[in-house]
C-alpha cells in the first residue's frame, strides 16, 4: 500500500502511453480513446450530438502527477427554474474506465465545480453538459501525464 504504483506498473503505463501516442499519430492530433467513452457519452446525451461551447473545462496542460489532477468545470448559463444545467459528466478517454465524475446541478446551485481526478496517461478529458431541455454541450482538454522520473 506504500506506493500507489510500483515500478512494473509504471513501466506498463509507460508502454501504454507509447501505444496511445502511436495511435494518436494515426488518428490525427487527438488521442484515440482506449475505453468505451463514446458509448458512455451517447448514453448521457441520449444519442444527441453535443455542441462545442457553453461548458468550460479547466485542467493543467501538464499534470505534475496523474494521481491528483485539479479540475474545474463550469457552464455559462443563468441557473433559473426555466433554464438550468441538469448534469455535467466528465469522461477520461485514456483511463481504464471512461467515467470520472458526474455533477448534478439545480436552480439553487451555480453551474461550476472543482475536484481532483486520476488520469492514467496522456489523454483527452471530455466534459458534457446536459440542460434541462435536453440540449447538450461539450468541451475537451488534452492533459499530458508525465510518467518516469522520481515523481512518476
Amino acid at each position: 500500500m506504500r506506493d500507489a504504483m510500483n515500478r512494473r506498473q509504471a513501466l506498463a503505463l509507460g508502454t501504454g502511453a507509447v501505444v496511445a501516442a502511436t495511435l494518436s499519430l494515426r488518428a490525427g492530433p487527438a488521442c484515440a480513446a482506449r475505453n468505451n467513452s463514446e458509448e458512455a457519452i451517447k448514453a448521457f446525451t441520449r444519442g444527441k450530438e453535443p455542441v462545442r461551447g457553453k461548458v468550460k473545462l479547466e485542467l493543467p496542460e501538464i499534470a505534475e502527477n496523474g494521481n491528483t489532477v485539479p479540475m474545474t468545470v463550469s457552464v455559462d448559463v443563468p441557473m433559473t427554474e426555466e433554464s438550468f444545467v441538469e448534469e455535467v459528466m466528465i469522461v477520461a478517454e485514456g483511463n481504464p474506465n471512461p467515467g470520472v465524475i458526474s455533477f448534478h446541478f439545480t436552480p439553487s446551485s451555480v453551474a461550476e465545480a472543482n475536484t481532483r481526478i486520476r488520469l492514467a496517461e496522456t489523454q483527452n478529458v471530455v466534459a458534457i453538459a446536459r440542460m434541462n431541455d435536453g440540449s447538450v454541450f461539450s468541451d475537451v482538454r488534452q492533459v499530458k501525464v508525465t510518467i518516469g522520473g522520481c515523481g512518476g
Binding site: 504504483m5 474545474t72 474506465n97 436552480p107 446551485s109 451555480v110 472543482n114 475536484t115 481532483r116
Partner: protein
C-alpha cells in the same frame, strides 16, 4: 477510518436572498479504484465514496456521482444559491453503504 470528520468551509453563512455561498469540502478516504494490484498480483477490490450530496432542509441542491478516477481524499469546491435559511447537510456514501455526514446552518434574508 470509522470516525471520519469531514472538513467543510462556507465563505459566508449569512446572505441576502439571491446571494451565492462558496462551499469547500475535503474528506479523508483512500478511494481504492479497483485498478490496483497487491504484492501477490491480486486486484484490490474497489472501495470508494460513490456519491456526495449537499442538501438544504432535506432537498438536494448539488450532488456528484464519483468513480474510481476521483483522487483519494475527495475535494469539492462548488457554489450554491440557497433560497431559504436552514440546515445544509453534506453526505458522502461509501461502496460499503456507510455514510459520512456533516451539517452547517445558514441564514438567508
Amino acid at each position: 477510518m470509522a470516525d471520519v470528520k469531514p472538513r467543510i468551509k462556507l465563505d459566508k453563512k449569512d446572505i441576502a436572498k439571491g446571494g451565492v455561498i462558496e462551499v469547500k469540502t475535503l474528506v479523508s478516504h483512500t478511494m481504492e479504484s479497483g485498478q490496483r494490484k497487491d504484492k501477490d498480483g491480486k486486484t484490490i477490490p474497489r472501495k470508494i465514496l460513490n456519491t456526495f450530496s449537499c442538501d438544504l432542509n432535506g432537498k438536494t441542491i448539488f450532488s456528484a456521482n464519483m468513480e474510481g478516477a476521483v483522487s483519494a481524499n475527495p475535494y469539492f469546491q462548488f457554489k450554491i444559491k440557497p433560497a431559504e435559511s436552514g440546515t445544509l447537510t453534506f453526505t458522502w456514501t461509501d461502496d460499503d453503504g456507510s455514510k459520512i455526514q456533516a451539517t452547517e446552518q445558514i441564514k438567508v434574508s
